[in-house]
Subunit: 315 residues, 2 copies
Amino acid sequence: MKKLTIAIDTLGGDLGPAAVVEGAEMALQQFPFLEPVLFGDEEVLRPLLKKDMKIIHAPTVIDPGESPTLAFRRKKDSSIVVGLKYVKEGHALGFVSAGSTGALLTGATVLIGRRPGIERPALGTVLPSKTGHTLLLDCGANMDSKPSYLAQFALLGTEYMQKCMGMTTPRVGLINVGLEEEKGNTLTKEAYALLKETSGINFVGNIEGRDILAGGVDVVVCDGFTGNVLLKHTEGFAKIILGMIKEQLLSTTISKIGALLAKGAFGKLKKRFDYREVGGAPFLGLNHIVIKAHGSSDALAIKNAIRQCVEYAGQ
Amino acid sequence: MKKLTIAIDTLGGDLGPAAVVEGAEMALQQFPFLEPVLFGDEEVLRPLLKKDMKIIHAPTVIDPGESPTLAFRRKKDSSIVVGLKYVKEGHALGFVSAGSTGALLTGATVLIGRRPGIERPALGTVLPSKTGHTLLLDCGANMDSKPSYLAQFALLGTEYMQKCMGMTTPRVGLINVGLEEEKGNTLTKEAYALLKETSGINFVGNIEGRDILAGGVDVVVCDGFTGNVLLKHTEGFAKIILGMIKEQLLSTTISKIGALLAKGAFGKLKKRFDYREVGGAPFLGLNHIVIKAHGSSDALAIKNAIRQCVEYAGQ
């Protein structure tokens, strides 16, 4: 069986290399044809391994606070730089990292390079919708976007949902302030016209804020500013609502008993919003896929981020 | 005691003139110095009145689907046109309407006119935050905004929260993708610089999506596109989460019993998200305040929209 090599950054995650190694081992169990290559401190990694895996020594970590451009010049032996170069040179089909988003985005764009026809790569996020999953992109790679970027995001998102979610013709929506074609700002008006003409996508039109997660679309495109604000707001708001519910439930004895009886129901809901089940954020539009795993990824989250790479890169 | 006159549109709301009249009567009970003036069909209104109120006959309604510009030219006897003119001529200090948002925004800008120093009026929305309330503006009046608009929104929002929420120095945040000054798109970078220099506001810096409703700021400013998408997403997402909770709670007998016991707790939460308690969306930056009440406003919602006008216009 042909091996599928994925490069994995063991540094930069909040839980340290042990969680990443465990995640890689879980992925290996699920995909026997997978060949994980670990980037990090060999001395730390070697004792953690239960299965035989290739290690490439790259012991330096890029901190989230560092300027990505400076870090790239100075930290030539960082796991992100060495790992991305490894992918660029064709030794692996994808890269997974729970490290600094800025460094990863800058590094991937510079080192791996854009796919032909793609002006700007985009950061996607798969969100749980009412009926399934919706891919939101761009979530923050391109602050000021041009209409052509949004049309390319639609193509990239379509391909991702086909490969990783098994959809045949994902529905693409443009985030806007109204359903009518003439609604919106300069960007969305021009993007609408372009999306209508773009072949290879199933463009269903504008989608308003309230319908993004209602299940009517599979891919929603927007500029990176709007996407980033929306994504973070969604995370924050979910936490606030669930916190308010908890507070209310604990406010009286009767409702406390009620909460106890309903615990199983809340558990299921929590799982639905568990980012670890979905995996990481795909960085799309490069010559190879790069997955940004959540900073606090545990083994399960890392395993699912590797799974995304396998599904995207595999045949 | 000096009378405070507010113009009230009785047409365009989903529940018809009866709900508006009842709301006006409730407001009158709370504010004996209030002088409500009702705009609508006199024949319909007269029999609804329990208290004596002034009625100005303006029987035509502008539909949400109509082009605001066309409607303004054609429907000279519509409640919105006649009511706004009444305010413009100085007979009333504010206008409340549950009618078409587009017509109201266009009409108010054209007829009532902008305040000196304000380039563009903004539509605000008061959202429940973790600790109190946050005013989000612009929620959709200005699709493509300039940095100077955002600085003016900050001033308008500050004044609103002082007058209507009794705050002395409301904290103002700029919606952005990171906390650092250099983050964001072209608009927010320039707006940050301008907000720092704007006197009369308590600018606390950038605010990320996740913190908009966390309670750390009282006024958040952004362009009308971002604000509209965010606002509608918040409404839609709250509904989706609460729907998912309901579904899970009803899925087993045990959790059903739990839900029943916890009903009071959920009721309190629902009240917290009840737009009727907050009132309508203030349209700020004009020579007089205009409140856009929710289309499905009942008497309580109308009463609170009138209360906003009274608080803003009163001394």
